[in-house]
């Protein structure tokens, strides 16, 4: 008997469009996305918009409060620190260091983690379990401890932060991708594809990867927020960016001496870190909830 279709056709949106709609429906996530875009622009163009250079000292304006305070001036929008450096300009220069570097570290370790995780996930047996168990061990070493070890060997400095945070982040990516690939590999549709004659590379790229992308994306957002916090914490402990650097964590630690007389030197860089991490977490949260209904 011919199939009779008596009901109107349903328009089924593509997965990408569905994710985008689910994401855009969440106003918080959308706002977060805008803030993240703004931070990325600042990280690239920040030094060009900054009214002063990061190290420019104004001896006539020491510890000036922000402009909304009666004692503040509009010249120094967010006030100055104890050396008369303009905090707003330093924040703009620092965006490049904290936010930009976090992005750089995350993408570098994502690539390394992706390659190792995918290879170990596709492998079976002893080799795979050795890799994954060693990763468990590496994962359990806290990032700060790793940073201390790196600093002990190479001395403090901004470039070492790259290695310290990168080494601490990579195992997380490897592990997440390893587990995702490994889990997908057990499923029936992979067997079906293999029976169709797909070689391992094809199985990996055309069959497994489309189902792993969402985990990669979620891990990336988690990684970026962890990297920002780590870079800032290292800067704060003087193990990362060193004293005159406008890295946000280092700015907090430089402001500590004047915590009581000029709390804004600590509050403002802290708020900057909070905002950037919060925006990224909002985007990550929105992505996660947008991706999850497809999974289930």
């Amino acid at each position: 008997m011919p199939q009779v279709n008596i009901y109107q056709e349903d328009d089924i949106p593509s997965p990408m469009r569905r994710i985008w709609h689910a994401f855009a429906d969440n106003p918080f996530a959308f706002a977060g996305l805008w803030v993240v875009c703004a931070f990325i622009l600042l990280a690239v163009f920040g030094p060009f918009i900054a009214p002063y250079s990061a190290e420019a000292q104004d001896p006539n304006a020491l510890l000036l409060p922000p402009s909304w305070d009666p004692a503040g001036t509009v010249d120094h929008f967010l006030g100055t620190d104890d050396l008369g450096r303009d905090i707003f300009s330093r924040l703009l220069h620092g965006a490049h260091l904290t936010f930009g570097m976090a992005l750089g570290i995350v993408f570098a370790s994502l690539i390394v983690g992706f390659v190792i995780g995918a290879i170990s996930g596709m492998m079976k047996g002893l080799k795979s379990s050795i890799l994954s168990h060693l990763l468990d061990a590496l994962l359990s070493i806290p990032s700060l401890l790793m940073a201390i070890l790196v600093v002990a060997v190479m001395g403090p400095g901004l470039s070492n932060v790259f290695w310290a945070v990168g080494i601490a982040l990579t195992p997380q990516f490897i592990r997440a991708i390893h587990q995702a690939v490994h889990e997908e590999l057990q499923k029936e549709y992979v067997t079906a594809a293999r029976l169709d004659g797909a070689n391992p590379l094809q199985v990996f790229w055309y069959v497994i990867m489309p189902n792993v992308w969402d985990i990669v994306i979620i891990q990336t957002t988690l990684g970026i927020s962890a990297a920002i916090l780590d870079i800032a914490a290292l800067g704060f402990l003087n193990l990362g960016a060193q004293a005159p650097s406008p890295e946000w964590g280092a700015m907090v630690s430089q402001g500590m001496d004047n915590l009581l007389t000029a709390p804004w030197t600590v509050t403002i860089p802290g708020v900057a870190i909070l905002c950037s991490v919060l925006a990224i977490n909002l985007v990550g949260d929105g992505l996660r909830s947008a991706l999850s209904p497809i999974k289930h």
Partner: protein, 337 residues
């Protein structure tokens, strides 16, 4: 007096496509001591009906009904708390997937004991022991050979059949008046299926438990149930004594279902086209107005865009403007609404 009497129950669901009437004007009468079969395809709202009777609906449900009488009390007027305590003592339900209906983190025994009521005649320090004995007794009654071992195990350690028996034991431990069995043998082996059905009918005969048996298999229902209701897409099509319904279906849908049953006595059968209704059951967001069978019904006419009311004739009920074998019920209410 019927044990359960539902008139014009409508359940509306809030979905992304707007509000959908998943059940429309469903009426159901269940007498004490009978096994009532509820026949319907998957997605026809059988489970929704069962959950509505128990009052464990989801948060996006809106339930309206003319009346929902339980033993002379209106369920719609009761508070959640009263409903719950009623369910604990008088109505019980068993589910499609017995393994996932048992808490994976607790032993089976503790879940049976939890469901049993306190016996006020026994001093409280002996109640635990008493319940344990009772639980064993019930497990034995539902045909589990080593109740002690089963009580100590977890749900995932047991087979489907045993889990369903445990669920039945939990359900009947309170000696309910009504047991709702929602596809109790889904995805089970034939032998286990037969065991479960035999157990249910034994319970029905020995303990006088009414059973609402939900299934999609007409032959199972025709074997085990006294009365039968046929549902399609959230509407009741026909209901009556099982033997009569099978013998002389009034409703085109019931007739189509009966025609679906393969007839192996005819040697040429496997070369013949299988009888089915054209098309498939509509999705929730594309429900037709009026009689929902309308677009697929061989007898459909213009009048079918108005929903036919359930018409009662000689112990049979049906909802159709153009039934077989019988003059339609020319209630004016049916055509006006």
């Amino acid at each position: 007096m019927p044990l359960l009497d539902i008139r014009n129950l409508t359940i509306e669901l809030d979905t992304p496509h707007g509000r959908v009437k998943a059940l429309e004007r469903v009426s159901l009468t269940l007498n004490p001591g009978e096994v009532h079969g509820l026949m319907g395809e998957s997605g026809s709202g059988r489970s929704l009906l069962a959950k509505a009777i128990l009052g464990i609906g989801g948060h996006n449900w809106k339930i309206t009904a003319d009346r929902m009488m339980w033993n002379g009390e209106n369920l719609m007027d009761m508070s959640t708390k009263q409903r719950r305590s009623l369910m604990g003592s008088e109505i019980a339900m068993i589910f499609q997937d017995p393994i996932s209906s048992l808490d994976p983190a607790k032993s089976v025994g503790s879940q049976i004991i939890e469901a049993m009521p306190d016996n006020p005649d026994i001093p409280w320090w002996r109640r635990g022991q008493d319940k344990k004995l009772n639980a064993k007794k019930w497990l034995h009654k539902v045909g589990i050979k080593n109740p002690k071992k089963v009580m100590g195990s977890f749900a995932w350690e047991l087979s489907d059949g045993i889990c369903q028996k445990v669920m039945i034991a939990i359900a009947v431990a309170n000696q309910p008046k009504l047991l709702i069995a929602d596809e109790p043998t889904n995805s089970m082996e034939l032998r286990t299926q037969a065991q479960i059905f035999r157990l249910l009918s034994k319970l029905n005969q020995l303990h006088n438990v009414s059973i609402l048996l939900i299934s999609h298999e007409l032959d199972t229902l025709s074997r085990w149930s006294d009365r039968l209701s046929v549902m399609y897409c959230g509407q009741i099509m026909e209901s009556g004594i099982t033997a009569e319904v099978i013998e002389t279906p009034y409703h085109p849908y019931t007739r189509a279902l009966l025609d679906n049953i393969p007839d192996h006595s005819n040697p040429e059968y496997h070369k013949m086209m299988m009888e089915t209704l054209p098309g498939s059951a509509p999705a929730l967001q594309h429900l037709p107005i009026g009689c929902r069978l309308g677009p697929r019904c061989p007898e459909a006419q213009k009048r079918c865009v108005a929903q036919p009311l359930l018409c009662r004739k000689k112990n049979r009920e049906f909802a159709c403007h153009f039934p077989y074998h019988e003059e339609p019920c020319y209630d004016d209410t049916a055509t006006k609404s």
